[in-house]
């Protein structure tokens, strides 16, 4: 290959690499600024967020937040100066390009004159050495600068690629999507709008596509915590303020035994997160489509009726998506006494009131992630139900989600389906549906009800039709009669009461 062309290619590559590094640093700064805003917010709200703490603990936490703010500001300044250094490198590389071209021209000129000189008897000098020197000089300088660049920025790049806000996530190959999670990607930060109150919104195309698994792996399961965060052994909890639409932002805590709850959870029915609707479907475990879904689970931090910690989440998101991860973290902390950094980011598209999903990142501090380390995106979906994320309206698949029709048809569908499954005959279903629909006020509702009922009876695994289930003294599941988990204790309870008391269906007997 032509050495000049090779040199040109190498320089082009180096400049491209520098541009990439600058881009990543800028994204990192964006992420840091979001974090800074969160911290400044939580600094104002330390008293509110920690009202059950003792006064001394409140003061300690205030100081912790202050320290973290200082660290984040320092990181922003460092990143900005690194960007400046990289831009200087780029500029000098460009200058060297010019110098290289000039050097080449000079070299060629010298060679020509030498050749002419030799031809006319001139002894000439060995200008190839000069050429080599010129090129060598450029190379050495470039190499030195590259080395410096790599030295100063390698850590930053590696930390940048594992850091930043939820949008900056690497792509990985898609895997089998039946049981295991897929690696996925959010688009670059250019598609993220960061509102002043730090709610994370993305473009619709950035949101991962649901394909049967309750969650997908993000960034090869590497969370985006900073190196200083990963060393933090101080308990803290930060909850973003709600934005102008009442939507939650990032919730970030250092989970440890100190902040885990010691009392049983109380009712949270008074909280209505953004996009909240009360709607039931037979195809939903527990019937209610939506739960008041904790960002940081109650079992981890004891936050219950905190509006900044609750989103409108489907039953599927709550139980199939988020709960397994919360369980893993909670049991790890109970067993080891270690700290686990735990951050949950609800992801909204545009002005939608219901989150499309949540990103959960976790990292165990004392063992540097050997115990707990993950970065996942959990889908806020409900199989069999179509959700309008703009306002939380919903309908069974195949129908258009509208608030009024959905509610009316849901109520009548629920009654019809319950009766039909009791009788367990298609004729009964038809008759019951007809009765239900004659009560409905519109033709459109009638049709909707009929279709919905048919679907529900055909496809739905129905909860015990008698409305009676069984719970134990210690578990948090409800069971069918005869389930093996009822050996030690067995208490009869109505299905509605079980759901109201936040029991969930047993995965073994599947009531």
């Amino acid at each position: 290959m032509n050495p000049f062309k090779k040199l040109k290619e190498e320089k082009k590559q180096k400049i491209q690499e520098i541009n990439n590094q600058i881009g990543e640093l800028r994204n990192r700064i964006d992420g840091l600024q979001i974090r800074l805003a969160n911290l400044e917010d939580s600094q104002k709200n330390v008293k509110e967020n920690h009202k059950w703490f003792e006064v001394k603990q409140k003061i300690n936490d205030k100081n912790d937040v202050k320290t973290q703010i200082a660290e984040v500001k320092q990181l922003i300044i460092q990143s900005q100066s690194k960007i400046k250094a990289l831009e200087r490198n780029k500029k000098s590389l460009n200058n060297k390009k010019v110098l290289t071209v000039l050097g080449v021209i000079v070299a060629i000129t010298v060679i020509l004159f030498t050749a002419i000189g030799i031809a006319v008897g001139d002894d000439g000098t060995d200008d190839s050495q000069n050429t080599t020197d010129v090129i060598g000089y450029v190379d050495e300088t470039t190499a030195k600068e590259s080395a410096v660049t790599e030295t100063t920025t390698t850590d930053e790049i590696s930390s940048t690629t594992v850091k930043t806000d939820p949008a900056m996530v690497a792509v990985a190959e898609a895997e089998n999507n039946t049981q295991t999670a897929q690696t996925t990607k959010f688009n670059s930060s250019s598609s993220i709008k960061k509102s002043a109150d730090t709610v994370s919104t993305v473009s619709k195309s950035s949101v991962p596509t649901y394909s049967g698994s309750a969650y997908v792996v993000v960034n090869s399961n590497n969370p985006n915590f900073t190196s200083s965060e990963k060393k933090n052994k101080t308990a803290f909890e930060n909850y973003s303020s709600l934005d102008s639409k009442g939507r939650c932002g990032v919730a970030f805590a250092n989970i440890c035994k100190q902040i885990m709850p010691t009392e049983k959870r109380e009712e949270i029915g008074s909280v209505k997160p953004s996009g909240w609707q009360t709607v039931k479907y037979d195809c939903v475990d527990g019937k209610y489509l939506y739960n008041r879904c904790h960002l940081i689970g109650y079992q981890l931090a004891g936050e219950n009726a905190n509006v900044k910690n609750l989103i409108t989440g489907t039953r599927y998101l709550n139980v199939q998506g988020m709960l397994p991860f919360e369980n893993m973290v909670a049991d790890y902390v109970k067993e080891t006494g270690n700290h686990v950094l735990y951050r949950v980011t609800p992801i909204f598209v545009g002005d939608e009131l219901v989150a499309r999903g949540v990103q959960i990142e976790a990292y165990s501090v004392e063992d540097s992630g050997k115990g707990i380390c993950f970065n996942v995106y959990c889908f806020n979906v409900q199989p069999g139900v179509t959700i309008n994320y703009t306002n939380g309206a919903s309908a069974l698949d195949g129908q258009t989600p509208t608030t009024k029709t959905t509610k009316a048809s849901t109520k009548s569908t629920t009654k019809a389906t319950t009766k039909s499954t009791t009788k367990a005959t298609t004729k009964a279903t038809t008759k019951t549906t007809t009765k239900a629909t004659t009560k409905a006020t519109t033709k459109a509702t009638t049709k909707t009800t009929t279709k919905a009922t048919t679907k529900a009876t055909t496809h739905t695994p129905v909860s015990p039709t008698s409305g009676t289930v069984y719970i134990t003294d210690t578990g948090d599941k409800y069971h069918r009669a005869g389930c093996r988990f009822l050996k030690e204790s067995c208490h009869e309870i109505s299905l509605e009461d079980a759901i109201a008391q936040h029991y969930s269906a047993c995965g073994i007997c599947k009531p």
């Binding site: 049981q179 295991t180 399961n221 709960l323 397994p324 369980n327 049991d331 790890y332 050997k370 707990i372």
Partner: protein
Amino acid sequence: MKIALCVDNNGGMLFNNRRQSRDRILIEDLLNTAQGKVRISPFSADLFDESKVICSDDFLEIADENDVCFVEDCELSCFNDKISQVILYCWNRDYPSDFSTDIDLDKFKLKSSVEFVGSSHDKITKEIYIK
């Protein structure tokens, strides 16, 4: 050989190359059940006192009939013929998993089932299956 393993409600064992959970009392129970040294892979070494285990990469290959092997990160389908007993500890919890047990328990008979309270788990079920 006898195999001991820990699973969640869906038969899962690992997530992101890390165990789903751990429990000190479960390990004590396992050691009591084994009544001797337990064979393990290096992956499980941090759960045990060094003096109570034999740690090796090929622990399943070299285990003999009466050895108890604690398995966390290995596939077992190729050792089906060698396994005479399965000691299955169920966490009774839902955890995420990307690696699950591949033992076919249909080829075994449930001999006993006991529940106990762990150090960090409200209820752990220990089921013993024999061929």
